[in-house]
């Protein structure tokens, strides 16, 4: 069954369709929430709340709309409400890296020996993820939606409830900040 079929079945209260949709979106949704709130326990709680909200509101979902955008909008509202309640300042202030100082190399200790390129790739990804975490939430989310969720600019605008020009300007600023941050860590091109 395709996505549209699953959504239609869910609207009729089909429990199998709900399981299939959770399985389909579990990684993407959890990753997006984690990018927004940065704390795994909070992301888990929001993940659960998002699906509860979906179950409650699916009847009012307009099938002409994009389900991805609707689902991520539901998740976004819950996450932003949570951030406003728990950490009001986190919505506009960058916070220190919470990766605990663990590097890609640390994570490799117990693993099999990998080719050098793979090790370097993991280390680069670790640095990039850490730099991404330091961006303000409005920048983190556009980067995550564009590069990780691979949403089109129009879809991101739907999720954010913002005009295309705002999405583009946030995307541009977030990438420029990210690049400046990486260059200040490892020197120009040190991460690439």
């Amino acid at each position: 069954m395709g996505l549209e079929g699953e959504v239609a079945q869910l609207r009729r209260g089909n429990l199998d369709a709900l399981s299939q949709l959770i399985a389909r979106y579990q990684n993407r949704l959890y990753r997006y929430l984690l990018r927004l709130v940065r704390d795994p326990a909070e992301a888990e709680d929001l993940f659960q709340q998002t699906w509860l909200r979906v179950a409650e509101k699916i009847e009012s979902f307009d099938t002409r709309r994009n389900f991805d955008a609707w689902l991520f909008t539901v998740a976004r509202h819950l996450a932003l409400d949570h951030l406003r309640r728990i950490r009001p300042r986190s919505l506009d202030e960058p916070v220190a890296d919470d990766s605990g100082g663990e590097t890609g190399a640390d994570r490799l200790v117990s693993q099999e020996i990998l080719p050098l390129d793979r090790i370097l790739e993991i280390e680069r990804s670790g640095r990039l993820a850490a730099a991404l975490q330091e961006l303000p939430v409005i920048y983190r989310e556009v980067v995550s939606l564009r590069f990780e969720e691979e949403m089109k600019i129009e879809e991101i605008a739907q999720v954010l409830g913002a005009p295309l020009s705002t999405v583009k300007s946030r995307l541009r600023r977030s990438l420029e900040q990210l690049r400046a941050s990486l260059e200040s860590r490892g020197g120009a091109g040190g991460w690439s």
Partner: protein, 160 residues
């Protein structure tokens, strides 16, 4: 525009180009410039690497336990929503049916007990108002009781 200004203009487009967010006309202009400008081309490679790196950041995955717990809770919420919809439909039907029955019963009783002339009794209107007020109050009390019971049931289910 001076040559430095030209480079700055194209460099300002690169972040959006790396995100695939440029209009096609701007993209073509940028491509043309890059093919003729080694300095901007080197800058562009940095942006491309950044975009590629962002797409390859490992995906954190939710635990199987979280997914299973979420599935169970969402299924319960879906069941509850369906039950709520069914109850609402039944309640609306019963309300309409009962009101029709109530409103019809009084004239019918008068019709069968006192004949057509009783309907024209000068006191009929006053008695009818009293009956309607009494019935409304009864329905309101019944509605409040039903709402309170429903809220209590929902509360009990949530903490079960």
């Amino acid at each position: 525009m001076n040559p430095r200004g030209v480079h700055d203009e194209f460099r300002s487009l690169m972040s959006l180009a790396a995100a695939g967010a440029l209009e096609s006309a701007e993209e073509r202009r940028l491509e043309q410039h890059l093919s003729a400008c080694p300095a901007c081309s080197a800058e562009w490679e940095g942006w491309r690497a950044l975009a590629g790196g962002l797409r390859r950041i490992p995906t954190p995955q939710p635990s199987a336990r979280l997914v299973e717990r979420t599935r169970r809770l969402a299924e319960a919420a879906l069941d509850e929503a369906a039950e709520h919809r069914w109850n609402r439909t039944v309640l609306i039907f019963l309300l309409v049916f009962s009101w029709v029955l109530t409103l019809l019963s009084w004239p019918l009783v008068r019709l069968f007990s006192g004949g057509l002339l009783a309907m024209l009794d000068m006191h009929f209107e006053r008695a009818w108002y009293g009956f309607a007020i009494f019935t409304t109050l009864t329905w309101l009390a019944g509605g409040v009781a039903a709402a309170m019971l429903s809220m209590r049931q929902r509360h009990a289910r949530r903490f079960a």
